[in-house]
């Protein structure tokens, strides 16, 4: 199962997709565990020049000139230059960049709201830039739903009618439309508001309608253009969380644009970092934070360099449950199932950390009728002091998924750090610094 396998089932555009087996299209940044995943969208050598003499601008680009020089020499704006990345089936990919980085242009090139100047955008074997107008309409209906920064709801249509829009355009019958819209509105928590007009709703609710409109359409890719940027921070946080849950549940391939690193780290499975119309780095949030590709990214995540200042204590969470050294296997198992965890730290009476037991070992011990857990304890976990910089914790997560134990000088268990908490903490620190 090669990850680059282009879906051969789409017959009509084989002419364009034929060349996709070229070796140079191999994505270089793919993390190991992603290798098996099906590629939903391939973006290859995508460029966009705003202006009338695009050829000249691209020539200069190929000679190594950058955006400002090209603008000065030709009056053409190089919006995007040689963009390459993949979007995997079912992932939430964040494209992040500051204003002018070309992120909005990029997302609009995907569904050709903006015509790309050169390059390929292959989705399920169909090369979007080479579609005729009619095929494009069809491709947009099948492949893309879009959520906009300023909601872009139709003020003359009710919430219900807004939600139905995509289906209406596709000529779906009224009954189905209605049912789908009702279901989707329920999904985004807007049941009861069907007959309201957008102007009667708050910003957050309006964007829920925007999201419902996109989801009802059931296209294969969800494009979100700074979808939460116009919302106030509290609502934004809620929406981010809901989007993540929704995305997790539905596994809908999502491309999310933002200028906000906090948001990107918070919701992204992977992040594509854009600067001046070029890709600077592609990677998971951890990779971006811990291995910035260049100075630009480093500066960008500088706020996040709080990781030097932030320590394990900041990201520490109270331990949900611990086992006592005097506990038997069955008691311990019950504590674990009550808290739905599959490993548990064992402490002495004065909360000294003794070790960790795993569920498998416990179950075995329980079956064999043993009544002591001390001899099945393992020391195969990490302990850190409360002053350990957060940055160092990243590396510790790579091998084992046990929470890291935070202990004081007397080896007393203070709390644990789980993987997500580190990122959350960093993201918050960054947000705090920005505001």
């Amino acid at each position: 199962m090669a990850n680059l396998k282009t879906t051969p089932d789409s017959s009509s555009h084989s002419a364009q997709s034929g060349s996709l087996t070229e070796p140079e299209v191999r994505p270089t940044e793919t993390p190991k565990e992603e290798k098996q995943r099906h590629v939903k969208i391939q973006v290859r050598n995508l460029s966009k020049v705003f202006g009338s003499n695009t050829k000249k601008a691209l020539e200069l680009r190929d000679q190594g000139l950058k955006r400002p020089e090209i603008l000065e020499k030709t009056g053409q704006t190089l919006g995007l230059s040689n963009i390459n990345f993949d979007v995997y089936e079912g992932e939430l990919l964040v494209i992040m960049g500051l204003s002018g980085s070309g992120k909005s242009t990029l997302i609009r090139c995907l569904n050709r709201l903006i015509e790309p100047t050169e390059g390929k955008i292959v989705i399920d074997g169909e090369n979007i830039p080479s579609l005729s107008d009619k095929e494009l309409l069809d491709a947009r209906r099948r492949h893309f739903s879009m959520v906009f920064q300023n909601f872009a709801l139709f003020p003359h249509r009710t919430v219900q009618q807004n939600t139905e829009f995509g289906l209406e355009i596709r000529g779906i019958d009224k009954q189905t439309r209605r049912e789908t819209a009702l279901k989707t509105l329920k999904q985004v928590g807007l049941d009861g508001w069907e007959e309201a007009y957008p102007s009667q709703l708050s910003g957050g609710m309006q964007q829920r309608v925007g999201l419902a409109r996109a989801l009802a359409n059931d296209a294969s890719v969800l494009l979100m253009d700074e979808a939460f940027s116009a919302l106030d921070p509290l609502i934004r946080g809620d929406m981010q969380q809901e989007l993540q849950e929704l995305q997790h549940r539905t596994q809908k391939t999502t491309v999310f644009i933002t200028h906000d690193l906090d948001e990107a780290i918070n919701i992204g499975d992977r992040i594509v970092l854009l600067k001046d119309g070029e890709v600077v780095q592609i990677g998971t949030p951890e990779e971006i934070l811990t291995q910035p590709a260049d100075d630009y990214v480093r500066r960008f995540v500088e706020g996040v360099d709080m990781s030097r200042i932030l320590t394990a204590e900041h990201a520490m969470r109270p331990v949900r449950a611990t086992a006592r050294d005097s506990d038997g296997p069955r008691t311990t198992l019950r504590k674990m199932s009550e808290n739905s965890i599959d490993s548990i730290y064992v402490t002495s009476r004065n909360r000294n950390l003794l070790g960790l037991v795993e569920i498998d070992a416990l179950e075995l011990a329980a079956q064999e009728g043993q009544d002591d857990i001390k001899h099945i304890m393992t020391q195969d976990f990490r302990t850190v002091g409360r002053d350990e910089p957060l940055q160092n914790l990243f590396a510790m997560f790579t091998e084992k998924s046990f929470p890291i134990a935070v202990v004081d000088d007397e080896k007393r268990l203070l709390g644990v750090v789980v993987k997500g908490a580190v990122l959350d903490e960093l993201a918050h620190a960054q947000a705090g610094e920005n505001s």
Binding site: S145, A152, L223
Partner: protein, 279 residues
């Protein structure tokens, strides 16, 4: 004078052109004349056939449903005054001309306005024409109307349509162009065809603006219909015209006040319609 610049015979050219149009297209103009005369007569007959108080009640009912008690009372009082002054019949004739002229103007203006909004080229072509149509003194249209359609109501309609159409076109174009870019983007993103975009997004959203344009058209039509009395159109205008010829200011003002009442009624009714849509 030293240099003798020959006079450019612009007027002659226009006359030649108009003559040519009159002879070549007499079939078309006659057809147009027949249709308008029939329409005018039909509408006129219906409105006159209705007893005064019935029509008054109908108009009051319309005012009540689109606006409220104030407009209704105003309408009843105003129309009763016209009736009392013995100007009911000319008022009906004027109303008929306005209605027909507005209908024709709107039927032409809507598609033209839509096309001008969608095509930059057409927009650039049409806008100067509209400027021309609006700034040319209204009386001038009356002159070619006579060779085309003869003296009477058809000529009045023709001149009125030309004079009153521009705002309807302008506002339609404006309304469609005012639809926010992101809504156009949204409909494009969901794969809407051009006509889906037009009928589901652009037109519904520009409706309030289009209504404002139609309101303007009605007002202009009313003023032109009065002037058209000079080429033999019936109605309140001809009452004013007669008062001028006989130097009877009282009669003139009476007819003038009737025009004002009619104008205010038409304006308030169409405006309320627009506001109702907006709300």
């Amino acid at each position: 004078m030293a240099i003798d610049i020959p006079r450019i015979p612009l007027g002659d050219w226009i006359e030649t052109g108009l003559d040519w149009l009159t002879t070549e297209f007499s079939g078309v103009t006659r057809g147009f004349a027949n249709i308008t005369v029939t329409a005018i007569d039909a509408l006129n007959d219906v409105l006159i056939w209705l007893p005064e108080w019935t029509l008054l009640a109908i108009i009051a009912g319309i005012c009540w449903s689109v606006s409220g008690i104030r407009l209704t009372i105003g309408a009843i009082a105003g129309l009763a005054l016209i009736w009392n002054m013995g100007l009911w019949l000319p008022m009906i004739e004027t109303l008929t001309l306005v209605v027909i002229a507005t209908l024709v103007a709107v039927v032409i203006a809507l598609p033209v306005g839509i096309l001008a909004a969608l095509s930059e080229r057409l927009y650039k072509l049409i806008m100067p024409m509209l400027d021309f149509m609006q700034t040319m003194p209204a009386f001038v249209y009356l002159i070619p109307a006579i060779p085309f359609f003869g003296i009477g109501s058809t000529s009045a309609i023709f001149a009125t349509v030309i004079f009153s159409m521009p705002p309807a076109i302008r506002f339609t174009t404006l309304g469609i162009r005012q639809v926010p870019v992101e809504l156009i983007e949204a409909s494009d993103a969901y794969g809407a065809t051009r006509s889906q975009k037009l009928f589901k997004v652009q037109l519904p959203m520009s409706l309030p603006t289009v209504m404002a344009g139609i309101n303007q058209t009605i007002m202009l039509a009313l003023s032109m219909v009065v002037i058209a009395a000079m080429i033999g159109a019936d109605g309140l205008g001809s009452e004013v015209w007669r008062a001028i010829q006989r130097l009877r200011p009282g009669d003139g003002f009476e007819a003038g006040i009737a025009v004002v009442i009619l104008a205010m009624l038409l304006d308030r009714i169409t405006q309320s319609l627009r506001k109702k849509r907006n709300a």
